[in-house]
């Protein structure tokens, strides 16, 4: 690691302004690696100036939003500055009639939803970690980590919601991709590359996101004591049922399945009843439903240990549940999609076992909250050919390896 000399502070202050630069403390560590400086710019031009200055001098830069998801990557090979993006906190434009919002990357999900408000009757359909745990996630962080909650079942991930982005490349170039319209095939869709890139291809500074009408009501249906092999047939019933299901979570080890139906109040209630009949479950009373929903959002984050995202072919979700059961891992499985979150002990044996089991099903593991060494251990690697291509993409975007070097647990450069 290059230890920036005293002149570094001056360079950074010139780039981002006096108040934006401070020496890093132990709390700013990135996966155990101590940075020297934290820079918190308030404007895109300042981000560009900081990144360009760092790139020219060989300092490495790790972007950070709320900081809640920093344990989703490996330890950086170098970490001179943390680029704190929470100063970019403007909502740039909300056009309700277009169901589109443009924000700076440091806007928190909570602030955005507040801003969209009940009056607008619109929502960004990303689930938030339930408060009050930890720092509020930012939109830049959610996009860079491809984070999504249970309602991914219906609304997808940031991949499906990101219409356009403005970003700063390692050399300080500011560029845009996509646009502010929902349908657009002009040029390459670099949004897809940015989603889940964990700060290694570019610093995301502005995002244009697709909104959805906020559903007026929700109802929860539960099916208890589901055996792992029954999950796939259960999913088939859900798919064929006359209900618009927005989340379908299996919580293990309780072996319960929770299904969420959203819509206008009468419609949601009616569909939930039909759904319950179709799947042999029951509709939960409103309070019990809320408790169930909050369990879905918390699982398996609440509690100590490593949190790992897993994905298998949807038809193998029963095997995935059986695997969680065999390994005694608490899990929340998105049964319609074949993905989920699993918690396990953060030690090499447990992580290896989980990865081996998931890969034996043809699936992948991606660390979400794991110790740095554990993250590399548990992360599945892309096939060799794809990995070479990914390394090449990274080299073209960031030839000097300035942005978050070594952070990709899956073996990215």
């Amino acid at each position: 690691m290059v230890t920036p000399a005293a002149g570094v502070g001056a360079v950074l202050r010139r780039a981002a302004g006096d108040g934006a630069v401070r020496p890093a403390t132990a709390r700013d560590r990135v996966a155990g690696v101590q940075p020297s400086w934290v820079v918190r710019p308030q404007a895109v031009e300042q981000v560009a100036a900081v990144v360009q200055a760092a790139d020219a001098r060989g300092w490495s830069v790790v972007p950070r939003g709320g900081g809640g998801g920093m344990a989703g990557g490996a330890a950086p090979s170098r970490c001179d500055l943390v680029l704190d993006l929470t100063g970019l906190d403007r909502v740039i434009e909300h056009v309700p009639g277009d169901l589109v919002v443009a924000v700076e990357a440091g806007v928190t999900l909570a602030a955005l939803q507040d801003r969209l408000g009940p009056a607008g009757r619109q929502r960004l359909m990303l689930d938030a970690p339930p408060p009050p745990r930890g720092p509020a996630p930012t939109l830049g962080g959610l996009v860079a980590a491809a984070a999504a909650g249970p309602r991914r079942h219906r609304y997808g991930t940031p991949r499906d919601l990101l219409l356009g982005a403005r970003f700063v490349l390692a050399d300080g170039t500011v560029a845009r991709t996509g646009g502010r319209v929902v349908k657009n095939v002009a040029g390459y869709d670099l949004c897809k590359l940015l989603v889940g890139s964990r700060g290694t291809l570019a610093v995301v500074v502005e995002l244009t996101l697709k909104l959805h009408p906020a559903p007026a009501a929700a109802a929860m249906v539960t099916v208890e004591r589901v055996a792992a092999p029954d999950l796939v047939p259960l999913v088939a019933l859900v798919r064929r049922s006359p209900a618009v299901v927005t989340a379908a979570e299996a919580l293990w080890p309780e072996r319960s399945v929770l299904l969420r139906v959203e819509g206008p109040p009468r419609v949601a209630a009616g569909e939930a009843a039909l759904l319950a009949r179709a799947v042999g479950g029951r509709v939960l009373a409103p309070e019990a439903g809320e408790r169930g929903w909050s369990r879905c959002l918390r699982r398996p984050w609440a509690g100590r240990g490593a949190v790992v995202a897993v994905a298998v072919a949807p038809g193998r979700v029963g095997e995935l549940a059986a695997c969680a059961e065999a390994l005694a891992c608490p899990a929340a499985l998105r049964i319609g999609l074949g993905v989920g979150l699993v918690r396990t002990a953060d030690d090499p044996t447990a992580l290896d076992r989980l990865r081996d089991a998931v890969e034996a099903m043809g699936g992948c593991c991606d660390p979400q909250r794991v110790s740095p060494i554990g993250a590399e251990r548990v992360a599945s690697r892309p096939p060799a050919g794809a990995l070479r291509l990914m390394a090449e993409v990274r080299r073209r975007f960031d030839p000097h390896g300035t942005l978050a070097p070594g952070r990709l647990a899956w073996g990215g450069p």
Binding site: G97, D98, A146, G156, R159, D160, D171, T173, T177, G179, V181, V182, K183, N184, V185, G187, Y188, D189, L190, C191, K192, L193, V195, G196, S197, H212, P213, A236, R239, R240, P242, A243, V244, G263, P264, V267, G270, E271, L274, A309, A311, V312, A313, P314, G338, V339, R381, P382, G385, A386, L387, L389, M390, E392, V393, R395, R396, F397, W410, G412
Partner: protein
């Protein structure tokens, strides 16, 4: 690079050893070099642009495709992938000094697995064939371009194609989960697969919509979804197209997301009525809306749609009484492009996007252009997502009229961009709009895209001259992309 209109230059024959190697790779019957055979490949759906390739090769598998590309790469010969050739932006226009690789022989559906909700297909399978393969099992492949009977999945992936039902269900990019890609040097890579969230960067997401410039797709894994339990198809007539536009906004504001919302203006309607008699209520504009979902929800949404249309001044609203009537309404919409032949000898199909809320002002701009240039423009569009397809009518036998039509089409795009829209919503940049890219993207934006392209294809052999402008294609206009010298150096030292 291809030329506009005029005669097609004869192709320079392939070196003998290259031809022999290609013939050995695919079998000599599948290497076409005879000029009359090549003529069938001189253009895609944008017939104004033509070029003869040096040869057409028709591989039957991923391995054969990789072998073909390896041979071409070794000789520095550029190549262009081709599906059904229905593209409307010249994406499959041959490169005059290059070879066309046709995927038409690779048309097998390899696997259907409904526990996974996946269909694995070769690239030459038609879009409709995928839906047909799963229809009896209660499933469908959601993206439904009007060309679905003929266009291929490979072409759909390359263009990120959409269709009328993409308003609710998303575009090709939302329904492709895996692909096998032959890179420009002949290497084969697997991107994604049956499971979601494959390890690493989402390169598949970047390949979808890349117009055949990042490699050749030789296998795809598609997501299929259940058929909706119920569907309601409605039509509403309005005295003015602006009122129909207001209805669209009101429906969205009401919180309803229809599966489709299609709008046609008077000119388009007169052609459609003459051609297929869909029996729309009469008016200056017709809005076709489809809602789908559980029966009760569907009925409620249909009521809401009707209320919005009435409030916006609809003169008539009808819910299709059965599948027959619904099919008739759709036939009218699907026939819109072809029907234009009834009212105009020639027409130019434009594809632009606007934020939905700016519809009225863009329509007004189009009307001004009609008046200024003395040409009629028919408007047919995917109103829900702001994707306009103005059809500029002209008579090519009248001197100068084709040029004026093209001028109008270009100015319409300018109007789209002026309100924050896009150059294309589904037809792609291709060759057609490549010189207009700088109107939407800065040099920095283009350079970022170029970084991706060179990572996949450093030698520039894969569908060159499409998607990103170069000085050779577009002249030294300011803002046209040129690789930055430092970029070239920076990358060069890495090799």
């Amino acid at each position: 690079m291809g030329s506009r209109g005029g005669a097609v230059a004869p192709a320079v024959a392939l070196p003998r050893d290259v031809a022999a190697a290609l013939a050995a790779a695919v079998g000599s019957a599948w290497l076409l070099t005879d000029p009359t055979a090549l003529h069938a490949y001189a253009c895609d759906g944008l017939t104004g642009w033509r070029a003869l390739p040096r040869a057409v090769v028709l591989p039957a598998s991923t391995d054969e495709t990789a072998a073909v590309v390896t041979i071409l790469a070794a000789h520095g010969i550029p190549f262009v992938a081709r599906g059904a050739g229905t593209g409307l932006s010249g994406g499959a226009l041959p490169v005059a000094e290059g070879v066309v690789i046709g995927l038409a022989r690779m048309r097998a559906i390899l696997r259907v697995d409904l526990d996974d909700e996946r269909v694995t297909a070769q690239p030459g399978v038609t879009n409709l064939a995928v839906s047909e393969a799963v229809a009896a099992l209660g499933y469908r492949y959601a993206p439904d371009p009007s060309s679905r009977q003929v266009c291929t999945i490979g072409g759909n992936v390359a263009e990120n194609s959409g269709g009328a039902h993409c308003l609710k269900l998303g575009f090709t990019t939302h329904h492709v989960v895996g692909a096998t890609l032959v890179l420009a040097d002949g290497q084969v890579v697997e991107l994604g697969g049956t499971a979601l969230d494959p390890a690493g960067y989402d390169l598949l997401g970047a390949v979808v919509g890349s117009e055949g410039t990042l490699g050749i797709v030789t296998e795809v894994v598609l997501r299929v979804i259940p058929l909706p339990p119920a569907v309601r198809t409605l039509v509403a007539a309005f005295e003015a197209i602006d009122a129909a536009g207001e209805a669209v906004s009101a429906i969205i504001a009401e919180g309803v997301t229809p599966a489709a919302m299609e709008l046609m203006d008077r000119t388009a309607l007169s052609a459609v009525e003459a051609a297929v008699h869909p029996g729309y209520p009469s008016g200056a504009a017709v809005l076709l809306v489809e809602v789908e979902g559980p029966d009760r929800r569907c009925a409620e949404e249909a009521e809401q749609v009707i209320a919005c249309c009435r409030a916006a001044g609809a003169t008539a609203c009808r819910i299709a009484a059965g599948e027959g009537e619904a099919a008739r309404y759709w036939r009218g919409r699907r026939a819109a492009f072809a029907a234009m032949g009834r009212i105009s000898p020639h027409y130019y199909v434009q594809d632009g996007v606007i934020p939905r809320t700016r519809l009225a002002e863009v329509l007004q701009a189009i009307r001004r252009l009609e008046e200024e240039h003395g040409l009629r423009v028919a408007n047919v569009f995917h109103a829900g997502d702001g994707n306009l397809h103005p059809l500029v009518c002209f008579d090519g036998t009248r001197p100068g009229e084709a040029e004026r039509a093209e001028e109008v089409a270009t100015r319409i795009l300018d109007a789209c961009l002026a309100v924050g829209g896009s150059l294309t919503g589904e037809h792609g940049i291709g060759r057609d709009k490549v010189c207009q890219v700088p109107k939407q993207f800065t040099v920095a934006d283009q350079m970022a895209m170029h970084r991706l392209r060179t990572a996949f294809d450093p030698a520039g052999l894969c569908n060159p001259g499409k998607l990103l402008p170069t000085p050779r294609l577009c002249g030294e206009a300011p803002g046209i992309y040129r690789p930055h010298p430092t970029e070239l150096r920076g990358v060069a030292d890495r090799w």
